[in-house]
Assembly symmetry: C2
Homo-oligomer: 164 residues x 2
Amino acid sequence: MTATAAQTRPRKRSGNGTARPADADEIGLDALVGHAGYAVRRFQIWIFQDFIRTLGDVDIRPTQYSVLTVIGANPGLSQMAVAKRLGIERARLVHLLDSLEQRKYVKRVKSRADRRSHALHLTSQGETALAKFKRLAAEHERHVEDRIGKENREQLLRILAGFT
Amino acid sequence: MTATAAQTRPRKRSGNGTARPADADEIGLDALVGHAGYAVRRFQIWIFQDFIRTLGDVDIRPTQYSVLTVIGANPGLSQMAVAKRLGIERARLVHLLDSLEQRKYVKRVKSRADRRSHALHLTSQGETALAKFKRLAAEHERHVEDRIGKENREQLLRILAGFT
DNA sequence: TATTGTTATACTCTATAACTATA
DNA sequence: TATAGTTATAGAGTATAACAATA
């Protein structure tokens, strides 16, 4: 393995319960250093927090933004189609849409082709709002760029393009 | 913005509710394509699912693994120190440790230096188990490599090194 | 007064199962 | 029979607040 062997031996701290306080930044991560999942998770948490903060005034979270964006770009989609495309459980999407519909951003239109399903559309209010959300999301994206660098951000998008 | 303008115009599907069924793979992501957070989130879900599956037989999840690894490498740490280092809420760590203590992987030792705090240690059973978990985690890491490529994985670790 | 561990609550998210109305 | 949307439940995870013991 890559970075596992580096610091596997525990740094002497104490054998019983009489250790010194433990300075937070000198604690080794050991095998975690070599795990992509660990870094990715920490980064994902940071990035979501920044997104939520940046779109705090409009009270839109990443999942809500992704749903609005996909509906905006593909009007008439069914709930199943949106759920599948974004990897959201259809049961969960129901609640997300309930909230977005209450806020008048989205409407469910009964499909006549298949009366089981709903065709999803943005309201005109939703269109206007989404345009604003996109501007704020772009601002958030600049924070990401500031944090990891322009080149690294683009590299990251290339590496992970297969997961979208 | 980078990849936002590319496909902003909705692809005609239907104005009312009479659309054709919507083929899941031809649905455009629009602005999401340019968002690092979206790709990172999808990737993080994939990677956690693979981790959980690969360590399914031993029933260890990513967070549990990270806690065991840090305690193993830094015996005697307090709960606060572990929580801070891994970015876990101290309230949540209580439950994680309850479970790991029940399974005899971890023990809380009362600290005499500061009688409010517990010094955390692996049991000998915990040490043995962790060694096995690390082998399985390394196997998981190879799945990541198979999926995105050796170079890309290393590039990713470099880019995100600042978030660990 | 402040901190450590704990308990409790609320909300997000994931994973299921079951129900209804349609197909 | 199967599918779309819905409802419900359980567990993980995050975010808080409050409390007891201790510093």
